[in-house]
């Protein structure tokens, strides 16, 4: 027997009392800052990172003391709040650093010809106004295209099996998809290496096959969620009108889920677009611009980065950062579009 609790306005996080919080915030910050400066002076902590650590430590102590003005419980609450917030912000520092470094150092490698030249006549440690990554972009595009041609249909079919046919093996299929998502990327690469590469050499197709193994689970899982959102009424009314399962699925359900399926595909591409390990063993690298997807290796963005990294000279490393900037931008764009599309699909 429930009361009309739904109509009760129960605060979800009931502790916020902003006036109190701000009253103590400013003095705490100021005193912590001063204390942090003292700490930095007397210990080995230095630089922005050291100052940050000193500040966190100082803030913890100061807020504890402020809290003790009330009682111990309040003081512990303040300390834990500081720790939780500090934990969060500290976790973000490296990511900010990554984004910053990638785009700052990568910018130096990018010039007007970067996207239209390849590395066929330039070597890694030539000046940065030579060469480019056109071969890598095109290569990645081809490999991802082939991988998508394999993984997307199979992924959607798998999802269709689970949601439309609801066969007895649905549970097993789901477990298999889950297990597949746990396959280490190197193992997928190794498998394709031994089946398709040994004896025949590197090729874009083998790279694509390796990537499709990693891509399928993502596509299948997202597609399943999307198809589950399609209301059952749509299907039942189609069946009631005498439509076959084929017609219902292809003419009604899939089109209704179109946006979501596109999202699923894009998420799959974003997931494998940056994979390097499988490509090391399958499609490897080619310095020339090429669209040949079988018979010889093909460049890709991750491998471009890797090759320049192993080169090791400063100029080559700048190129690696340049490739990283391009790769990261592309992945972020695809990911964001996919997320926006799914947001709209879900209403």
């Amino acid at each position: 027997m429930t009361t009309s609790t739904a109509s009760l306005v129960t605060p979800r996080r009931p502790w916020v009392n902003r006036r109190d919080v701000f009253k103590e915030l400013i003095p705490t910050l100021v005193i912590s800052g001063a204390l942090a400066a003292v700490i930095v002076n007397f210990t080995g902590l230095a630089g922005p990172l050291g100052s940050y650590v000193a500040f966190v430590f100082a803030y913890l102590s100061v807020s504890f003391l402020f809290g003790m003005r009330h009682d111990k419980v309040k003081a512990i609450d303040k300390v834990m709040t500081t720790l939780v917030c500090a934990g969060f912000f500290t976790a973000f520092i490296p990511w900010v650093s990554i984004l910053f470094t990638v785009f700052k150092r990568g910018a130096s490698a990018i010039y007007w010809g970067y996207f239209s030249s390849d590395m066929s006549v330039t070597s890694g440690d030539d000046e940065l106004n030579m060469g480019g990554l056109s071969h890598a972009i095109v290569g990645s595009g081809i490999i991802l295209l082939i991988a998508s041609l394999i993984a997307i249909p199979f992924g959607i079919i798998t999802a269709v099996y689970i949601t439309e046919i609801k066969g007895r093996l649905s549970g097993l299929v789901r477990v298999m998809v889950q297990s597949m998502s746990g396959v280490p990327s190197i193992v997928a690469g190794l498998f394709v290496f031994t089946v398709m590469v040994t004896g025949k050499g590197f090729s874009a197709i083998s790279g694509a096959v390796a990537l499709s193994i990693l891509m399928l689970p993502t596509v299948a899982r997202t597609a399943e969620e999307v198809l589950k959102l399609i209301p059952e009424d749509l299907r039942t009314s189609a069946y009631a009108l005498g439509a076959t399962q084929t017609a219902t699925t292809f003419r009604i359900v899939l089109p209704a889920a179109r946006a979501g399926l596109v999202t699923a595909s894009m998420l799959g591409v974003a997931r494998v677009g940056g994979e390097t390990a499988p490509l090391i063993m399958t499609s490897f690298y080619l310095a020339n611009f090429s669209t040949d997807f079988s018979g010889h290796p093909l460049a890709s963005l991750p491998m471009y980065i890797y090759q320049n990294f192993t080169n090791g000279t400063d100029l080559a490393l700048s190129r690696a950062w340049g490739g990283a900037a391009v790769l990261l931008s592309l992945i972020f764009i695809i990911f964001t579009i996919a997320r926006l599309a799914s947001g709209r699909a879900k209403g």
């Binding site: 027997m1 429930t2 009361t3 009309s4 109509s7 605060p11 009931p14 009392n17 009682d71 419980v73």
Partner: protein, 210 residues
Amino acid sequence: MSISLQGTIGRGEFQRTLNFTIADGEVLAITGPNGSGKSTVIHTIAGLIPLRSGHVESDGAMWDAPDSKEWVSPENRTCAVVFQDLRLFPHMSVLSNVAYGLRTHGVNKDEAHSRSTSVLARVGLSSFEKRRPSELSGGERQRVALARALVVEPRVLLLDEPLSAVDVASRAALRELLPEVLGSFAGATILVTHDLGDVEAMAAANLGLN
């Protein structure tokens, strides 16, 4: 000490205006059909829901007065709630559950545990300290929730449908226990119920919400 609520609670179509005062030792029953806002009254007095207008006042001190922006948060109010769904902490023992209100107010462990043990005896659960809520019957759990509220020695005890989460068999036993406990309770009690039989059993004044 007295506690009075005068004002408008709830939102939109659930809004209602109330005005009552109770004094120490008195028991006020709030009755009415489901959805009439009985629980809202309890939550408002406890400070879990703010008033729209009016005031909640206890012995001259304003607990909630939106017009003059006065507010006392729940942990500083001298009242205790027994929720309809009890809300015992499943990962803590009975003793820890009962002692919780004391511990959050800074009472040290030993004292909190000894006070909890004596309150548990008062509600008839003397040997239940180490058990977990999941091992108890509905009636036993109700008593733990009651003990948890009594141990902090509130001036106002708020009971939300105290007999509804209990199986029929235990209900009779509780109906006898409650008046006994309330009899020895020094403060005011507000009791929400839809059962007029409870009202009679507690010899309470009745505020009917329709």
